[in-house]
């Protein structure tokens, strides 16, 4: 798994949201790296987060657990963590675990940052 954090000078206007783009496989071996990055961002006050999963082709329960923990942390700091995902492989996993009702899952980064935290 590779991770990249959007930079504030980026050409795409993310309305102040920080976009973390993950690519590859988020499995139990890769999950600690993702957890560490997310915890670090949220502890530093970055609580409006988008995780772009468009380049991810596999996620396991440990990866899901990392996202659950990060949503909890972001929300309890009055922020949110939203997922960008259109890959049917991953959507199926969110669906069968019921996590599609826990996460805010949208089709694009634009959609993710369009609505203010209170507005959802």
């Amino acid at each position: 798994m590779e991770l990249e954090i959007s930079d504030s000078d980026a050409s795409v206007d993310t309305h102040g949201w920080t976009v973390l783009t993950a690519t590859g496989e988020i499995d139990v071996a890769a999950a600690p790296g993702l957890r560490e990055q997310l915890v670090e961002l949220i502890e530093a006050g970055t609580t409006e987060l988008v995780v772009d999963l468009e380049g991810v082709d596999f996620i396991d329960s440990t990866g899901l657990g990392v996202l659950i923990g990060a949503v909890r942390r972001a929300r309890s700091a009055d922020g949110d963590l939203r997922l960008v995902c259109t890959n049917s492989r991953l959507l199926k996993v969110f669906d069968v675990t019921g996590l599609d009702e826990v996460f805010t899952i949208v089709d694009s980064v634009d959609d993710a940052v369009a609505v203010a935290v209170d507005g959802i």
Binding site: E25, D27, V28, A29, F58, D60, S61, T62, L64, G65, V66, I68, G69, V71, R72, R75, R89, K92, V93, V96, T97, G98, L99, E101, V102
Partner: protein, 143 residues
């Protein structure tokens, strides 16, 4: 009936190899459909990561064994560890997804994923560990 056996050290960095082996075995003729290969990859990852975590530290020189059995009508994979064993029916359920407490639980999804993604799963206690047997049915050739 063809069989493939894979033995790996009980280490999580071998999971990607296991996924590759099992999915490419299941893609052999007659192949499982692509979406079932995805189900298989995830179910095997969950079972195998549980097996690796359960494996006794003293048994670290003994492998986790993954056995695939390819029959015309189904694909079966057994994962065998040297762990303490467990009762899969005694696991406590996670809070409902509508319950805010759901967010308190970052683990505990593996066994339920395995049950949903496979057509059959059994958990057998072996004298020195557990054998998790998962079956995915192959589509019948007439379909």
């Amino acid at each position: 009936m063809a069989e493939i056996h894979l033995e790996i050290p009980p280490r999580l960095d071998y999971l990607a190899v296991v996924r590759l082996v099992v999915a490419s075995a299941a893609a052999l003729d007659p192949p499982l459909p692509e979406s079932r290969l995805d189900d298989l990859r995830l179910a095997v990852t969950e079972a195998c990561s549980n097996a690796i975590k359960a494996h006794r530290p003293e048994a670290e020189d003994e492998p986790v064994v993954i056995s695939c059995r390819l029959a015309d009508d189904r694909f079966q994979v057994d994962i065998r560890d040297r762990g303490p064993g467990f009762d899969p029916d005694a696991l406590s359920a996670l809070p409902d997804v509508a319950d805010p407490k759901r967010l308190q639980h970052e683990s505990g999804l593996g066994i339920s994923l395995i049950r949903v993604l496979t057509d059959d799963v059994t958990f057998a206690a072996a004298p020195d560990g557990t054998i998790v047997s998962m079956t995915l049915n192959r589509p019948s050739p007439s379909a």
